[in-house]
Amino acid sequence: MIHDKLTKTLIGESVYTDDFEYPNMAYCVFVGSTQAHARIKEIDVSGAMQAPGVLKVLTGKDLIQYMDPLPATSDFSVVGWHWRVPKVYPLAVEKVGFYGEPVAAVIAETEYAARAAAELIQIDYEVLPAVVDAKHAMQPDAPLLYEEWGDNVQVHVTFEWGDIDSVFSEADRVLKVSWQEGRVSGFPIEPRGCVALYDKNTKELTMWGTYQTPYIAQRCISTTLRLPRSKVKVIALDIGGAFGNKINSWKDTVVALGSILTGRPVKWFENTREFIVTGPHQRDTIWEGEVAVTNGGKVLGVRAKYIQDLGVESTNRGAAAMSIVPACAAIPNAYRLKALKVDAYGVVTNKSFFCAYRGYGKDKGVKFMERIMDWIAAELKIDPAEIRKRNFIKANEFPYKQISGYVYDSGDYEKVFDEAIRMADAEKWRQEQQTLQGSGRYIGIGYAFTVEPAGVTVANCVFTGATEARIRINEDGFVEVWSDRTEIGQGGNITIGNVVSEILGANLEDIIVHNVTSDMVGSGPISSRGAVYPLSAVAKAARELKARVVKIASFFLEENEENISVGGGLIFSVKNKDKKMTFKDLARRAYFSPGPRGLSEELKLKGDIVLDVIATWYSPNTAKNPTSTYTTFCSSADVAVVEVDVETGNVSIIKYVHVHDAGRIINKQVIDGQLYGGIVQGIGEALIEEILYNEAGELLTKTYADFLMPTSVDAPGILLKHVETPSPFTETGAKGMGEAPIIGSKAVIISAIEDALRPFKVRIDRAPATKERICAWLSSRKNGDKEVKS
């Protein structure tokens, strides 16, 4: 029975990490640095050690006696790239690199005692100058985070696809383009946490927690603690949202060490403030470049410099230094570009680490390209919808090999886009815009088209693409399913149930989808791979199991295999309606009465007698190059109409349309939930969300009162529609999905605001477009600047 999370809560079955308790459990809290960049001169833990209830206090110096540094999540130095992997421990050892970086951990009898003792730890810092701006960090005089590197460039790669010089020489026009995104993150409502239990007799460590990717967490925890993988089990409990933010498990290693050293189960559950301060951050990008176009509006190529602010690092705590690759490779988006060259830098600064958040890297290239499309349209005085259509890859060109190496599986971009334009009534709004301008009201129509690469495989990286699934029919007739696809609120479990039920014929209420543990190989729900890798493995296992079911049923029902069908919880003969059995009948007879001995010699010899199948799946569409390759490419069109109040900078969304193609739809309600949620997150990014540090490196947005995310009042009415072009590369025809909405919605809102402010010649090359920024752009325009660049 696959329960939704409300039902689970109502029947008392839900166990989120904060609900998880173990007898004799102690609590761990972390002490964060009050400095962004400083040498640790001395840590005085004596007061804390004597505080009531304290069991253990750990500092970075203590850790290194027991632990190895956090393992690299990706390492491309092996293929010759400029790729630096710093030596990182989960508690600062000699130096702190960001405000709030954990410098000590206190383990005590209660959370209250641990927090009280944490207040007593005294740290003497030698404060160093901080660098919080990526461009500054690249200057020769910038403070160095890792002195041994000699600069702050963690990653530097140049990508060149196609003949860039020749497309620029044949261009009618070359436009300068730049675009900058502020730092944001997913910050699901439930923060991170875990319970660690080390059994000193068996030397086994079990971790329960907010694990989006238990198999990846197992690697991190076992490596740092020098334990064999077989002795570390990681179990995902009910998870209160993740969005990529719960891939990391570096703090968990300290909690695990706490359990090893105290001999007690140890729990850690952070609050939102701790989540934001020490959390994974994302976006924070700068693009500067130029685009080559023809007078007819054909885009020929893009040449750019890309700077990604990685914060303190993104190869150890974080797993997103690698995201620079898809950021660049996603630029061509839905269009037929001839060439692309990007000089890409991942730069370290004194901010919290950089890791995954819905969009990961692919979002960045797409948003840059969508800005470019609007600017080309404005330059050539061609309608922004028309300019996109002129460059679209056509429906008959799939599979389409994009210049960046991606093979687009299927799609019909024009159909998706036209439908969105029609639903939005764009023509009517264009007229309305003219009328309203006369009375001093400014509405704008925005367009965005998104191709979302979904379901990744990367060499030299934790996102390997390996995946497996297991399905078993028990003697009681219930069907159990295991996979690596953690339920993080995306509807993964119900979709797995839908697929198993459809293939196997078992009733949905008889299917149990288990919480994910590190027992199943796979990198979990990252990169929208749920419907690609795990679901393909599940479908494959279900088909293999069905074949076994049919064989055994054929024996019991005395009917030819080809006449046997499944459905509605029954296995039956299509020729003779009296010949039928339930899954429970089948399993009972196959396992017990008469059991395997009563089956045919052929079945026994082939070993097809146990109704339990493990299947693995690997994408047939994996390129040979070591970087990221994706299996499916869903697409979407966003059209939005906004009104901008030019006095206050307030943006109201009047109309919002999103048309989406995720291939074959398995569960429309689940997909719609993803779309609504992603769209509103993207709107938040476009208008209000930004993680801000001051010049000294102190985080200014530590709570939801400062880091603003959309509330119910900010969410517009959204019209959705689906187009289905099945993927030829997955087992179900479904595509990975869930990230296009956050990409397109951010792009479309910016596009619409710029369109509304066209009379003021404001060009928006920065997000978020907060009220304050919009007012500043408008006032500099009113002060007589020729064209305002944000």
């Binding site: 409300l6 809560t9 997913g186 409502i189 939930g673 769209i679 995310m709």
Partner: protein, 155 residues
């Protein structure tokens, strides 16, 4: 220092000793083991710890337990026993208003209050009413639909 207080929680009266700095959230969650009252920000921003205090929704993390002495508290555990709650819960499930589920108890308590207290339940008033309960998964669309749907059903 502890103070004895009396709380009527989900129709049952509890006499408990609480610390003077202990919040209602801590008492409900840790002492009374009412796990639907969730923790996240613990400073009044997110709404996951919403409970009804004398019939009105409050962030229990912002209420000192001693100040709730003599009050009547309803959590999701209590609400789910009420006849008039079932339709709302079913509507949440039917409308796919629950994704990760972390905000759901707080959200549905506020939604219940909206249905109980508002004369005019429209999309706008629902949105206004739910403003203090953050959700990061759903974009609120299906939650608003669920409340509206439940309202239409109860009419």
């Amino acid at each position: 220092m502890t103070v004895p207080i009396s709380l009527k929680v989900n129709s049952e009266v509890y006499k408990i000793d609480v610390g003077t700095n202990e919040t209602l959230l801590e008492v409900l969650r840790e002492k009374l083991k009412l796990k639907s009252v969730r923790r996240a920000c613990q400073e009044g921003d997110c709404g996951v710890c919403t409970v009804l205090l004398n019939g009105k929704p409050v962030n229990s993390c912002l209420v000192l337990a001693v100040s709730a002495d003599g009050c009547e508290i309803t959590t999701l555990e209590g609400l789910s026993q009420r006849e008039d709650f079932r339709a709302l819960a079913e509507s949440f499930v039917r409308n796919h208003a629950v994704q990760c589920g972390y905000c759901t108890p707080g959200m549905i308590i506020t939604a219940y209050y909206i249905l109980q207290s508002m004369d005019e339940v429209t999309e706008e008033t629902i949105k206004k009413g739910l403003e203090g309960n953050l959700c990061r998964c759903t974009g609120y669309a299906n939650i608003v639909s669920a409340v509206k749907d439940a309202y239409e059903q109860q009419k």
